[in-house]
Protein backbone atom coordinates (compact mmCIF):
# COMPACT_ATOMS: atom_id res chain seq x y z
CA UNK A 1 0.00 0.00 0.00
CA UNK A 2 2.72 2.45 1.04
CA UNK A 3 4.64 1.64 -2.12
CA UNK A 4 1.75 2.39 -4.47
CA UNK A 5 1.06 5.60 -2.60
CA UNK A 6 4.68 6.64 -3.04
CA UNK A 7 4.55 5.84 -6.76
CA UNK A 8 1.33 7.79 -7.27
CA UNK A 9 2.70 10.65 -5.19
CA UNK A 10 5.87 10.86 -7.25
CA UNK A 11 3.72 11.04 -10.37
CA UNK A 12 1.60 13.79 -8.86
CA UNK A 13 4.65 15.76 -7.73
CA UNK A 14 6.11 15.65 -11.26
CA UNK A 15 2.64 16.55 -12.49
CA UNK A 16 2.57 19.60 -10.22
CA UNK A 17 5.78 20.93 -11.74
CA UNK A 18 4.53 20.15 -15.25
CA UNK A 19 1.36 22.07 -14.46
CA UNK A 20 3.25 25.27 -13.61
CA UNK A 21 5.49 25.00 -16.68
CA UNK A 22 2.64 24.13 -19.02
CA UNK A 23 0.34 26.88 -17.72
CA UNK A 24 3.01 29.43 -18.58
CA UNK A 25 3.53 28.03 -22.05
CA UNK A 26 -0.19 27.80 -22.67
CA UNK A 27 -0.73 31.43 -21.66
CA UNK A 28 1.85 32.52 -24.22
CA UNK A 29 0.54 30.28 -26.97
CA UNK A 30 -3.12 30.86 -26.34
CA UNK A 31 -2.63 34.57 -26.40
CA UNK A 32 -0.61 35.25 -29.48
CA UNK A 33 0.19 31.91 -31.10
CA UNK A 34 3.75 32.30 -29.86
CA UNK A 35 5.11 28.80 -29.50
CA UNK A 36 7.93 29.66 -27.15
CA UNK A 37 10.24 26.68 -27.56
CA UNK A 38 12.77 28.36 -25.24
CA UNK A 39 10.35 28.12 -22.30
CA UNK A 40 12.48 25.49 -20.61
CA UNK A 41 15.56 27.72 -20.80
CA UNK A 42 13.80 30.30 -18.68
CA UNK A 43 12.88 27.55 -16.26
CA UNK A 44 16.59 26.75 -16.08
CA UNK A 45 17.35 30.44 -15.51
CA UNK A 46 14.88 30.48 -12.60
CA UNK A 47 16.60 27.43 -11.14
CA UNK A 48 20.01 29.09 -11.35
CA UNK A 49 18.69 32.30 -9.76
CA UNK A 50 17.30 30.32 -6.83
CA UNK A 51 20.48 28.30 -6.48
CA UNK A 52 22.57 31.47 -6.58
CA UNK A 53 20.43 33.22 -3.98
CA UNK A 54 20.49 30.22 -1.68
CA UNK A 55 24.21 29.47 -1.90
CA UNK A 56 25.52 33.05 -1.76
CA UNK A 57 22.94 34.88 0.38
CA UNK A 58 21.46 31.89 2.28
CA UNK A 59 17.93 32.92 1.33
CA UNK A 60 15.19 30.38 1.98
CA UNK A 61 14.36 29.17 -1.55
CA UNK A 62 10.60 29.01 -0.92
CA UNK A 63 10.55 32.60 0.28
CA UNK A 64 12.69 33.58 -2.70
CA UNK A 65 10.04 32.41 -5.20
CA UNK A 66 8.23 35.77 -5.48
CA UNK A 67 11.56 37.46 -6.29
CA UNK A 68 12.24 34.88 -9.02
CA UNK A 69 8.75 35.43 -10.40
CA UNK A 70 9.26 39.19 -10.47
CA UNK A 71 12.70 38.99 -12.10
CA UNK A 72 11.46 36.62 -14.80
CA UNK A 73 8.36 38.75 -15.34
CA UNK A 74 10.51 41.78 -16.09
CA UNK A 75 12.79 39.70 -18.29
CA UNK A 76 9.72 38.42 -20.12
CA UNK A 77 8.53 41.93 -20.90
CA UNK A 78 11.98 42.82 -22.22
CA UNK A 79 12.17 39.67 -24.37
CA UNK A 80 8.69 40.32 -25.70
CA UNK A 81 9.53 43.89 -26.60
CA UNK A 82 12.79 42.92 -28.29
CA UNK A 83 11.70 39.84 -30.19
CA UNK A 84 8.06 38.96 -30.41
CA UNK A 85 6.45 42.36 -30.72
CA UNK A 86 7.89 42.88 -34.17
CA UNK A 87 6.78 39.44 -35.32
CA UNK A 88 3.23 39.97 -34.07
CA UNK A 89 3.07 43.34 -35.87
CA UNK A 90 4.70 42.48 -39.19
CA UNK A 91 3.57 38.93 -39.89
CA UNK A 92 0.74 38.69 -42.42
CA UNK A 93 -1.06 35.72 -40.88
CA UNK A 94 -1.34 33.69 -37.68
CA UNK A 95 0.48 30.80 -39.32
CA UNK A 96 3.45 33.00 -40.09
CA UNK A 97 3.50 34.33 -36.52
CA UNK A 98 3.60 30.73 -35.37
CA UNK A 99 6.46 29.71 -37.67
CA UNK A 100 8.59 32.79 -37.03
CA UNK A 101 8.13 32.76 -33.28
CA UNK A 102 9.15 29.12 -33.27
CA UNK A 103 12.41 30.03 -35.00
CA UNK A 104 13.01 32.96 -32.66
CA UNK A 105 12.35 30.56 -29.80
CA UNK A 106 15.13 28.30 -31.06
CA UNK A 107 17.40 31.31 -31.26
CA UNK A 108 16.59 32.26 -27.67
CA UNK A 109 17.20 28.67 -26.62
CA UNK A 110 20.74 28.73 -28.02
CA UNK A 111 21.33 32.19 -26.61
CA UNK A 112 20.17 31.64 -23.02
CA UNK A 113 21.57 28.13 -22.67
CA UNK A 114 25.02 29.09 -23.86
CA UNK A 115 25.10 32.24 -21.76
CA UNK A 116 24.57 30.05 -18.70
CA UNK A 117 27.20 27.59 -19.93
CA UNK A 118 29.66 30.47 -20.27
CA UNK A 119 28.82 31.83 -16.84
CA UNK A 120 28.52 28.71 -14.69
CA UNK A 121 29.88 25.85 -16.81
CA UNK A 122 28.36 22.46 -17.54
CA UNK A 123 28.66 21.03 -13.99
CA UNK A 124 25.66 19.85 -12.05
CA UNK A 125 24.82 22.26 -9.23
CA UNK A 126 22.64 21.74 -6.22
CA UNK A 127 21.99 22.39 -2.58
CA UNK A 128 20.09 20.49 0.09
CA UNK A 129 16.89 21.92 1.42
CA UNK A 130 14.31 20.24 3.70
CA UNK A 131 15.73 16.77 3.18
CA UNK A 132 14.19 15.04 6.23
CA UNK A 133 11.47 12.52 5.41
CA UNK A 134 7.84 12.73 6.42
CA UNK A 135 5.69 9.64 6.90
CA UNK A 136 2.07 9.67 5.77
CA UNK A 137 0.04 6.43 6.22
CA UNK A 138 2.96 4.09 5.66
CA UNK A 139 4.51 6.01 2.75
CA UNK A 140 7.64 8.09 3.24
CA UNK A 141 8.26 11.35 1.40
CA UNK A 142 11.12 13.82 1.53
CA UNK A 143 9.74 17.07 2.93
CA UNK A 144 11.11 19.16 0.07
CA UNK A 145 9.01 17.26 -2.47
CA UNK A 146 5.87 17.81 -0.47
CA UNK A 147 6.66 21.52 -0.18
CA UNK A 148 7.31 21.73 -3.93
CA UNK A 149 4.08 19.91 -4.67
CA UNK A 150 2.07 22.15 -2.37
CA UNK A 151 3.59 25.30 -3.79
CA UNK A 152 3.09 24.17 -7.41
CA UNK A 153 -0.56 23.27 -6.87
CA UNK A 154 -1.21 26.48 -4.94
CA UNK A 155 0.38 28.58 -7.71
CA UNK A 156 -1.62 26.79 -10.42
CA UNK A 157 -4.92 27.13 -8.56
CA UNK A 158 -4.21 30.78 -7.79
CA UNK A 159 -3.63 31.41 -11.48
CA UNK A 160 -6.84 29.61 -12.43
CA UNK A 161 -8.79 31.64 -9.85
CA UNK A 162 -7.20 34.82 -11.12
CA UNK A 163 -8.19 34.02 -14.70
CA UNK A 164 -11.69 33.01 -13.58
CA UNK A 165 -12.70 35.80 -11.24
CA UNK A 166 -10.84 39.02 -12.03
CA UNK A 167 -11.49 41.52 -14.80
CA UNK A 168 -7.91 41.21 -16.01
CA UNK A 169 -8.27 37.44 -16.10
CA UNK A 170 -11.45 37.82 -18.08
CA UNK A 171 -9.60 39.96 -20.65
CA UNK A 172 -6.90 37.29 -20.93
CA UNK A 173 -9.49 34.58 -21.45
CA UNK A 174 -11.26 36.69 -24.05
CA UNK A 175 -8.00 37.07 -25.96
CA UNK A 176 -7.34 33.36 -25.79
CA UNK A 177 -10.72 32.74 -27.40
CA UNK A 178 -10.37 35.37 -30.12
CA UNK A 179 -7.53 37.87 -30.38
CA UNK A 180 -9.34 40.11 -32.87
CA UNK A 181 -12.68 39.88 -31.09
CA UNK A 182 -11.02 40.98 -27.86
CA UNK A 183 -9.51 43.98 -29.59
CA UNK A 184 -12.93 44.92 -30.98
CA UNK A 185 -14.51 45.10 -27.54
CA UNK A 186 -11.81 47.43 -26.32
CA UNK A 187 -9.23 45.22 -24.62
CA UNK A 188 -5.86 46.95 -24.72
CA UNK A 189 -3.70 44.33 -26.41
CA UNK A 190 -0.60 46.54 -26.40
CA UNK A 191 -0.52 46.24 -22.59
CA UNK A 192 -1.87 42.74 -22.28
CA UNK A 193 0.53 40.99 -24.66
CA UNK A 194 3.80 41.83 -22.88
CA UNK A 195 2.23 41.35 -19.44
CA UNK A 196 0.93 37.89 -20.28
CA UNK A 197 4.20 36.91 -21.93
CA UNK A 198 6.00 38.05 -18.80
CA UNK A 199 3.59 36.07 -16.63
CA UNK A 200 4.37 32.99 -18.70
CA UNK A 201 8.09 33.38 -18.07
CA UNK A 202 7.44 34.08 -14.38
CA UNK A 203 5.68 30.72 -14.13
CA UNK A 204 8.58 29.01 -15.89
CA UNK A 205 11.03 30.66 -13.49
CA UNK A 206 9.04 29.57 -10.44
CA UNK A 207 8.89 26.01 -11.75
CA UNK A 208 12.67 26.09 -12.17
CA UNK A 209 13.17 27.44 -8.66
CA UNK A 210 10.98 24.65 -7.29
CA UNK A 211 12.92 22.04 -9.23
CA UNK A 212 16.24 23.31 -7.88
CA UNK A 213 15.03 22.41 -4.35
CA UNK A 214 14.61 18.77 -5.35
CA UNK A 215 17.00 17.95 -8.17
CA UNK A 216 20.46 18.99 -9.27
CA UNK A 217 20.45 21.64 -11.95
CA UNK A 218 22.43 22.05 -15.17
CA UNK A 219 22.27 24.37 -18.20
CA UNK A 220 20.64 21.67 -20.31
CA UNK A 221 17.89 20.85 -17.80
CA UNK A 222 15.27 22.99 -19.53
CA UNK A 223 14.63 21.22 -22.80
CA UNK A 224 12.90 18.10 -21.45
CA UNK A 225 10.50 20.35 -19.57
CA UNK A 226 9.70 22.32 -22.72
CA UNK A 227 8.80 19.07 -24.38
CA UNK A 228 6.75 17.84 -21.44
CA UNK A 229 4.93 21.16 -21.36
CA UNK A 230 4.17 20.88 -25.07
CA UNK A 231 2.80 17.40 -24.51
CA UNK A 232 0.71 18.63 -21.59
CA UNK A 233 -0.87 21.51 -23.49
CA UNK A 234 -1.54 19.19 -26.39
CA UNK A 235 -3.25 16.80 -23.97
CA UNK A 236 -5.27 19.53 -22.32
CA UNK A 237 -5.94 21.57 -25.42
CA UNK A 238 -4.31 24.81 -26.49
CA UNK A 239 -5.74 27.77 -24.66
CA UNK A 240 -7.40 25.75 -21.91
CA UNK A 241 -5.89 26.47 -18.50
CA UNK A 242 -7.85 23.77 -16.65
CA UNK A 243 -6.95 21.33 -19.42
CA UNK A 244 -3.27 22.04 -18.77
CA UNK A 245 -3.66 21.32 -15.07
CA UNK A 246 -5.43 18.00 -15.65
CA UNK A 247 -3.11 17.08 -18.53
CA UNK A 248 -0.06 17.73 -16.35
CA UNK A 249 -1.24 15.31 -13.67
CA UNK A 250 -2.15 12.71 -16.29
CA UNK A 251 1.31 12.92 -17.86
CA UNK A 252 3.02 12.81 -14.45
CA UNK A 253 1.10 9.68 -13.48
CA UNK A 254 1.60 7.98 -16.85
CA UNK A 255 5.35 8.59 -16.55
CA UNK A 256 5.60 7.39 -12.94
CA UNK A 257 3.62 4.19 -13.45
CA UNK A 258 4.98 3.59 -16.95
CA UNK A 259 8.58 3.84 -15.77
CA UNK A 260 7.84 1.50 -12.89
CA UNK A 261 6.36 -1.17 -15.13
CA UNK A 262 8.85 -0.84 -18.00
CA UNK A 263 12.18 0.88 -17.42
CA UNK A 264 13.36 4.42 -16.57
CA UNK A 265 15.21 4.76 -19.87
CA UNK A 266 11.84 4.57 -21.63
CA UNK A 267 10.51 7.76 -20.05
CA UNK A 268 10.84 9.82 -23.22
CA UNK A 269 9.32 7.05 -25.31
CA UNK A 270 6.32 6.93 -22.98
CA UNK A 271 5.77 10.68 -23.14
CA UNK A 272 6.01 10.68 -26.91
CA UNK A 273 3.76 7.67 -27.10
CA UNK A 274 1.13 9.63 -25.19
CA UNK A 275 1.66 12.68 -27.42
CA UNK A 276 1.41 10.75 -30.68
CA UNK A 277 -1.66 8.85 -29.49
CA UNK A 278 -3.44 12.06 -28.47
CA UNK A 279 -2.52 13.90 -31.67
CA UNK A 280 -3.80 11.03 -33.76
CA UNK A 281 -7.01 10.38 -31.85
CA UNK A 282 -7.98 13.86 -30.62
CA UNK A 283 -5.81 16.50 -32.33
CA UNK A 284 -7.53 19.32 -30.43
CA UNK A 285 -6.90 17.93 -26.96
CA UNK A 286 -8.62 15.46 -24.67
CA UNK A 287 -11.19 17.94 -23.42
CA UNK A 288 -12.09 19.64 -26.70
CA UNK A 289 -15.80 19.79 -27.31
Amino acid sequence: MGFWLELAASGLITGGIYAVVALGLNLQYGLMRIMNISHGEFLMLGAYLTWLAHTTLQVNPLLFMPAVALAMFVLGIVVYRLCFQRIARTAPSVEVIEARSLLVGFGLMFLVQNLVYLQWGADLRGYSFLTETVEISGARFPANRLAVFGFAVAASLALLAFLRWTLFGKAVRAMMQSPTGAQLVGIDTAVLHPVVFGAGLALAGVAGGLLSMVYEISPSMGEPYTISALIVITLGGLGSAIGSLVGAFILGLVEAFGMHFTSPSLKMLLSYGVLVAVLLARPRGLFAR
Binding site: R33, L103, F110, L111, M268
Partner: protein
Amino acid sequence: MKTRDALAATLGCGLALALLPWLLSDFVLALVLSCLMYAALAVSWSMFCGPTNYLSLATSAFFGIGAYVTAWGLESMPYLAAVFAGGLTAALFAALVGAAVLHLRGAYFAVITFGLGELVLHAITHFEKTYAHTVGRVISDPPGGEAIYLTVLVVTLAAVATAILVRASRLGLALAGIGADEERAQTLGVDTRRAKIAAFTLSAFFAGALGAAMAVRWTYIEPLSVFSPFIGFQTVLIAMVGGAHTLIGPIVSSIFFSLLTEFLRLRFPYVFLLVLGALLIALVLYLPGGLASLFTRWRRIRV
Protein backbone atom coordinates in the same frame (compact mmCIF):
# COMPACT_ATOMS: atom_id res chain seq x y z
CA MET B 1 16.38 29.82 -65.20
CA LYS B 2 15.01 27.08 -67.38
CA THR B 3 14.95 23.59 -65.96
CA ARG B 4 17.36 22.28 -68.58
CA ASP B 5 19.89 25.08 -67.99
CA ALA B 6 19.72 24.51 -64.23
CA LEU B 7 20.33 20.79 -64.68
CA ALA B 8 23.26 21.48 -67.00
CA ALA B 9 24.74 23.94 -64.49
CA THR B 10 24.38 21.35 -61.73
CA LEU B 11 26.15 18.74 -63.84
CA GLY B 12 28.95 21.17 -64.69
CA CYS B 13 29.52 22.09 -61.05
CA GLY B 14 29.43 18.42 -60.18
CA LEU B 15 32.16 17.55 -62.69
CA ALA B 16 34.35 20.38 -61.42
CA LEU B 17 33.82 19.35 -57.79
CA ALA B 18 34.60 15.72 -58.65
CA LEU B 19 38.19 16.68 -59.46
CA LEU B 20 38.83 18.25 -56.04
CA PRO B 21 40.08 15.16 -54.16
CA TRP B 22 43.18 15.19 -56.38
CA LEU B 23 43.77 18.93 -56.09
CA LEU B 24 43.13 19.86 -52.45
CA SER B 25 44.68 18.96 -49.12
CA ASP B 26 42.78 16.68 -46.74
CA PHE B 27 41.83 19.56 -44.48
CA VAL B 28 40.26 21.66 -47.23
CA LEU B 29 38.58 18.59 -48.67
CA ALA B 30 36.95 17.94 -45.30
CA LEU B 31 35.63 21.50 -45.36
CA VAL B 32 34.19 21.01 -48.84
CA LEU B 33 32.64 17.76 -47.69
CA SER B 34 30.86 19.47 -44.83
CA CYS B 35 29.64 22.22 -47.20
CA LEU B 36 28.27 19.54 -49.52
CA MET B 37 26.53 17.73 -46.70
CA TYR B 38 24.78 20.83 -45.42
CA ALA B 39 23.93 22.00 -48.94
CA ALA B 40 22.26 18.66 -49.65
CA LEU B 41 20.44 18.63 -46.31
CA ALA B 42 19.19 22.18 -46.76
CA VAL B 43 18.15 21.62 -50.38
CA SER B 44 16.29 18.43 -49.54
CA TRP B 45 14.65 20.13 -46.55
CA SER B 46 13.45 23.03 -48.69
CA MET B 47 12.13 20.59 -51.27
CA PHE B 48 9.18 19.89 -48.97
CA CYS B 49 9.21 22.70 -46.42
CA GLY B 50 10.00 25.61 -48.76
CA PRO B 51 6.89 25.64 -50.94
CA THR B 52 4.46 24.23 -48.35
CA ASN B 53 5.54 26.41 -45.39
CA TYR B 54 5.61 23.34 -43.16
CA LEU B 55 8.33 23.48 -40.53
CA SER B 56 9.83 20.00 -40.24
CA LEU B 57 12.45 19.31 -37.58
CA ALA B 58 12.69 15.65 -38.50
CA THR B 59 15.95 15.97 -40.47
CA SER B 60 18.06 14.70 -37.60
CA ALA B 61 15.77 11.67 -37.27
CA PHE B 62 16.22 10.77 -40.96
CA PHE B 63 19.95 11.48 -40.84
CA GLY B 64 20.38 9.29 -37.77
CA ILE B 65 18.36 6.45 -39.24
CA GLY B 66 20.60 6.51 -42.30
CA ALA B 67 23.71 6.50 -40.12
CA TYR B 68 22.44 3.50 -38.17
CA VAL B 69 21.68 1.58 -41.36
CA THR B 70 25.38 1.95 -42.21
CA ALA B 71 26.45 1.04 -38.70
CA TRP B 72 24.39 -2.14 -38.75
CA GLY B 73 24.80 -3.08 -42.40
CA LEU B 74 28.31 -2.17 -43.47
CA GLU B 75 29.68 -5.57 -42.51
CA SER B 76 27.24 -7.41 -44.74
CA MET B 77 26.93 -5.06 -47.71
CA PRO B 78 29.09 -2.71 -49.77
CA TYR B 79 29.26 1.00 -48.86
CA LEU B 80 27.18 2.22 -51.79
CA ALA B 81 24.44 -0.30 -51.07
CA ALA B 82 24.41 0.87 -47.44
CA VAL B 83 24.01 4.48 -48.55
CA PHE B 84 21.09 3.54 -50.77
CA ALA B 85 19.54 1.36 -48.07
CA GLY B 86 19.92 4.21 -45.57
CA GLY B 87 18.02 6.53 -47.87
CA LEU B 88 15.29 3.96 -48.48
CA THR B 89 14.86 3.20 -44.78
CA ALA B 90 14.55 6.87 -43.92
CA ALA B 91 12.10 7.34 -46.80
CA LEU B 92 10.00 4.42 -45.63
CA PHE B 93 9.98 5.80 -42.10
CA ALA B 94 8.99 9.23 -43.44
CA ALA B 95 6.15 7.76 -45.51
CA LEU B 96 4.74 5.91 -42.49
CA VAL B 97 5.08 8.87 -40.15
CA GLY B 98 3.95 11.33 -42.81
CA ALA B 99 0.73 9.40 -43.38
CA ALA B 100 0.03 9.73 -39.66
CA VAL B 101 1.04 13.32 -38.90
CA LEU B 102 0.91 15.36 -42.11
CA HIS B 103 -2.66 16.50 -41.42
CA LEU B 104 -1.21 18.60 -38.59
CA ARG B 105 -0.04 22.11 -39.28
CA GLY B 106 2.04 24.86 -37.73
CA ALA B 107 3.50 24.37 -34.31
CA TYR B 108 1.93 20.92 -33.86
CA PHE B 109 3.75 19.62 -36.90
CA ALA B 110 7.04 21.20 -35.85
CA VAL B 111 6.79 19.76 -32.35
CA ILE B 112 5.88 16.27 -33.42
CA THR B 113 8.65 16.13 -36.01
CA PHE B 114 11.12 17.36 -33.40
CA GLY B 115 9.83 14.62 -31.15
CA LEU B 116 10.46 12.01 -33.85
CA GLY B 117 14.21 12.48 -33.57
CA GLU B 118 14.11 12.03 -29.81
CA LEU B 119 11.75 9.10 -30.18
CA VAL B 120 14.01 7.22 -32.58
CA LEU B 121 17.07 8.15 -30.51
CA HIS B 122 15.63 6.68 -27.33
CA ALA B 123 14.21 3.66 -29.14
CA ILE B 124 17.60 2.81 -30.65
CA THR B 125 19.46 3.47 -27.38
CA HIS B 126 17.09 1.14 -25.57
CA PHE B 127 17.30 -1.50 -28.30
CA GLU B 128 21.11 -1.45 -28.35
CA LYS B 129 21.34 -1.62 -24.57
CA THR B 130 18.93 -4.49 -24.12
CA TYR B 131 19.66 -6.65 -27.16
CA ALA B 132 23.16 -5.79 -28.35
CA HIS B 133 24.55 -4.74 -24.93
CA THR B 134 26.41 -1.77 -26.40
CA VAL B 135 26.09 1.98 -26.30
CA GLY B 136 27.73 2.75 -29.64
CA ARG B 137 29.17 0.90 -32.59
CA VAL B 138 32.61 0.97 -34.14
CA ILE B 139 32.84 1.02 -37.92
CA SER B 140 35.73 -1.32 -38.46
CA ASP B 141 36.49 -1.02 -42.16
CA PRO B 142 35.62 2.47 -43.47
CA PRO B 143 36.03 3.23 -47.17
CA GLY B 144 38.70 5.71 -48.31
CA GLY B 145 38.35 9.49 -48.22
CA GLU B 146 37.87 9.86 -51.98
CA ALA B 147 35.11 7.27 -52.04
CA ILE B 148 33.24 9.06 -49.26
CA TYR B 149 33.69 12.43 -50.94
CA LEU B 150 32.47 11.22 -54.32
CA THR B 151 29.49 9.42 -52.78
CA VAL B 152 28.41 12.50 -50.85
CA LEU B 153 28.92 14.56 -54.00
CA VAL B 154 26.67 12.23 -56.00
CA VAL B 155 23.97 12.34 -53.30
CA THR B 156 24.19 16.13 -53.22
CA LEU B 157 23.94 16.44 -56.99
CA ALA B 158 21.01 14.04 -57.01
CA ALA B 159 19.29 16.13 -54.33
CA VAL B 160 19.80 19.35 -56.28
CA ALA B 161 18.68 17.76 -59.55
CA THR B 162 15.61 16.28 -57.86
CA ALA B 163 14.78 19.66 -56.36
CA ILE B 164 15.01 21.27 -59.82
CA LEU B 165 12.80 18.60 -61.36
CA VAL B 166 10.26 18.74 -58.54
CA ARG B 167 9.91 22.50 -58.91
CA ALA B 168 9.03 22.11 -62.57
CA SER B 169 6.66 19.18 -62.07
CA ARG B 170 2.99 18.85 -61.16
CA LEU B 171 4.10 17.83 -57.67
CA GLY B 172 5.97 21.12 -57.30
CA LEU B 173 2.90 23.10 -58.34
CA ALA B 174 0.74 21.11 -55.94
CA LEU B 175 3.18 21.85 -53.09
CA ALA B 176 3.17 25.56 -53.90
CA GLY B 177 -0.61 25.44 -53.91
CA ILE B 178 -0.62 23.80 -50.49
CA GLY B 179 1.66 26.51 -49.17
CA ALA B 180 -0.52 29.30 -50.51
CA ASP B 181 -3.84 27.91 -49.27
CA GLU B 182 -4.27 24.25 -48.53
CA GLU B 183 -8.06 24.22 -48.62
CA ARG B 184 -8.17 26.02 -51.93
CA ALA B 185 -5.71 23.54 -53.39
CA GLN B 186 -7.95 20.74 -52.18
CA THR B 187 -10.99 22.35 -53.73
CA LEU B 188 -9.16 22.69 -57.02
CA GLY B 189 -8.66 18.94 -57.09
CA VAL B 190 -5.14 18.54 -55.73
CA ASP B 191 -4.72 15.39 -53.69
CA THR B 192 -2.88 17.34 -50.98
CA ARG B 193 -2.36 14.33 -48.75
CA ARG B 194 -0.59 12.36 -51.43
CA ALA B 195 1.48 15.33 -52.58
CA LYS B 196 2.63 16.04 -49.02
CA ILE B 197 3.53 12.43 -48.27
CA ALA B 198 5.39 12.11 -51.58
CA ALA B 199 7.47 15.25 -51.02
CA PHE B 200 8.14 14.45 -47.36
CA THR B 201 9.31 10.95 -48.33
CA LEU B 202 11.50 12.26 -51.13
CA SER B 203 13.21 14.80 -48.88
CA ALA B 204 13.73 12.13 -46.21
CA PHE B 205 15.44 9.85 -48.73
CA PHE B 206 18.27 12.33 -49.23
CA ALA B 207 18.68 13.08 -45.53
CA GLY B 208 18.86 9.34 -44.84
CA ALA B 209 21.32 8.69 -47.66
CA LEU B 210 23.55 11.51 -46.37
CA GLY B 211 23.44 10.09 -42.86
CA ALA B 212 24.44 6.70 -44.21
CA ALA B 213 27.22 8.21 -46.33
CA MET B 214 28.63 10.43 -43.57
CA ALA B 215 28.43 7.81 -40.82
CA VAL B 216 31.69 6.20 -41.89
CA ARG B 217 33.52 9.47 -41.24
CA TRP B 218 32.95 9.16 -37.51
CA THR B 219 34.24 5.57 -37.08
CA TYR B 220 32.38 5.46 -33.74
CA ILE B 221 28.61 5.77 -33.91
CA GLU B 222 26.38 6.41 -30.93
CA PRO B 223 22.77 7.58 -30.85
CA LEU B 224 23.51 10.89 -29.14
CA SER B 225 25.92 12.04 -31.83
CA VAL B 226 24.08 10.92 -34.98
CA PHE B 227 20.64 12.04 -33.77
CA SER B 228 22.03 15.33 -32.52
CA PRO B 229 19.20 17.89 -32.83
CA PHE B 230 21.93 20.30 -33.86
CA ILE B 231 22.02 18.76 -37.35
CA GLY B 232 18.31 19.37 -37.73
CA PHE B 233 18.47 22.95 -36.43
CA GLN B 234 21.47 23.79 -38.54
CA THR B 235 19.66 22.50 -41.62
CA VAL B 236 16.54 24.55 -40.92
CA LEU B 237 18.65 27.57 -40.12
CA ILE B 238 20.67 27.30 -43.34
CA ALA B 239 17.58 26.85 -45.46
CA MET B 240 15.67 29.70 -43.79
CA VAL B 241 18.63 32.07 -43.85
CA GLY B 242 19.20 31.34 -47.51
CA GLY B 243 15.52 31.55 -48.35
CA ALA B 244 13.73 28.21 -48.33
CA HIS B 245 11.52 28.97 -51.32
CA THR B 246 14.55 29.33 -53.61
CA LEU B 247 17.05 26.77 -54.78
CA ILE B 248 20.25 28.76 -54.78
CA GLY B 249 19.68 30.44 -51.39
CA PRO B 250 20.14 27.31 -49.25
CA ILE B 251 23.24 26.32 -51.24
CA VAL B 252 24.94 29.69 -50.77
CA SER B 253 24.13 29.90 -47.08
CA SER B 254 25.30 26.32 -46.49
CA ILE B 255 28.78 27.35 -47.66
CA PHE B 256 28.73 30.34 -45.33
CA PHE B 257 27.54 28.32 -42.35
CA SER B 258 29.86 25.36 -42.85
CA LEU B 259 32.84 27.70 -42.85
CA LEU B 260 31.55 29.52 -39.78
CA THR B 261 30.93 26.22 -37.97
CA GLU B 262 34.28 24.80 -38.93
CA PHE B 263 36.22 27.80 -37.67
CA LEU B 264 34.27 28.72 -34.56
CA ARG B 265 32.54 25.67 -33.21
CA LEU B 266 35.55 23.72 -32.02
CA ARG B 267 37.41 26.71 -30.63
CA PHE B 268 34.57 28.54 -28.90
CA PRO B 269 31.61 26.14 -28.69
CA TYR B 270 29.44 28.25 -26.38
CA VAL B 271 30.14 31.56 -28.04
CA PHE B 272 29.48 29.97 -31.41
CA LEU B 273 26.02 28.77 -30.43
CA LEU B 274 25.32 32.07 -28.72
CA VAL B 275 26.14 33.95 -31.91
CA LEU B 276 24.11 31.46 -33.91
CA GLY B 277 21.09 32.08 -31.68
CA ALA B 278 21.40 35.85 -31.92
CA LEU B 279 21.86 35.63 -35.68
CA LEU B 280 18.79 33.47 -36.06
CA ILE B 281 16.66 35.93 -34.08
CA ALA B 282 17.97 38.93 -36.00
CA LEU B 283 17.39 37.25 -39.37
CA VAL B 284 13.84 36.15 -38.58
CA LEU B 285 12.98 39.64 -37.35
CA TYR B 286 14.63 41.72 -40.03
CA LEU B 287 15.05 39.49 -43.07
CA PRO B 288 12.20 36.96 -42.94
CA GLY B 289 12.52 36.08 -46.64
CA GLY B 290 16.15 34.98 -46.28
CA LEU B 291 19.27 36.08 -48.13
CA ALA B 292 17.56 35.31 -51.43
CA SER B 293 15.08 38.11 -50.76
CA LEU B 294 18.00 40.56 -50.63
CA PHE B 295 18.93 39.49 -54.12
CA THR B 296 15.43 39.86 -55.53
CA ARG B 297 15.06 43.23 -53.81
CA TRP B 298 18.33 44.39 -55.33
CA ARG B 299 17.27 43.24 -58.79
CA ARG B 300 13.93 44.99 -58.46
CA ILE B 301 15.66 48.27 -57.61
CA ARG B 302 17.92 47.99 -60.67
CA VAL B 303 15.00 47.29 -62.99
